[in-house]
Symmetry: C2
Subunit: 156 residues, 2 copies
């Protein structure tokens, strides 16, 4: 059985795939000093469509997790903002032939997948698996899938 | 002292001001049946600018809360997605002369303020006050403020 070891999600590890959405680094103070604004942290791309916000409720998965499929969206970026403080699993890949990577958020991070990034489907590890998703709304075939002949086992 | 009583946030109560972002109502099943997609739930408007995702970290406020100021963004909509399961306070108004309303989320709701809606600044009631904000990135004067001569006291 081929395995993937989970790594922490960091902006450096994630840079080839997208943006880590977290309240870290530079900010402006707004609201009379009571709020930090970490400005414009995602490279959004909606191509010929427009931006939309959708709500996802995904079933929690358990570890070890059998990764059987990756997908990508050729027509736009896709951001996932967790509405809980539970860490969730982010799986990305350089392509069907590459070894996928499994990154775990720290409970205060979302992600934005750049257009065309191969990734696993949304994998919360605890209920409720609630996320706001910012992606392209519009026409066109915006989903490609690749199914592995043999699963990758994602392990802690 | 003039007072405002907190009400629950519902799509009906909030309709004049914006959209409630929650995983309720119609959905499509995706990811082999393991995820509900509640599609395209916000009326986004970025005017002459573009969409961006910023991260806000706001200090928690206590009740009763003295509301001294409302503001609005004439150039675009503004969505707030909490990254915790803590209810937060949403204050909206029909304008400087009107009686503001104070709505409390149920812990699984975000909001999208329509362009030009008068609102109070972000008011989490518990730490960490972490939010992803989807609003207009671009040039122009996108903030109007109004300060009340006498505060409104927001009470539970």
């Amino acid at each position: 059985m081929r395995q993937i070891q989970i790594e922490p999600l960091t902006p450096e590890a994630f840079a080839p795939y997208g943006d880590v959405l977290e309240a870290a680094g530079d900010f402006r103070l707004i609201n009379e000093g009571l709020c930090q604004r970490h400005h414009d942290r995602a490279r959004l791309d909606f191509g010929e469509g427009r931006a939309g916000i959708s709500m996802f409720r995904a079933k929690a998965r358990a570890l070890p997790y059998a990764l059987t499929l990756i997908e990508r969206h050729p027509l736009g970026s896709q951001a996932f903002v967790p509405m809980t403080e539970h860490p969730f699993l982010v799986i990305v890949s350089d392509g069907p032939e590459a070894r996928p990577r499994a990154l775990l958020t720290n409970g205060q991070q979302g992600i934005n997948l750049h257009r065309g990034t191969w990734h696993g489907v949304l994998t919360p590890l605890q209920e409720p698996g609630l996320f706001a998703v910012v992606d392209m709304i519009g026409e066109g075939a915006n989903l490609e899938e690749f199914r592995f002949a043999e699963p990758w086992m994602v392990v802690a």
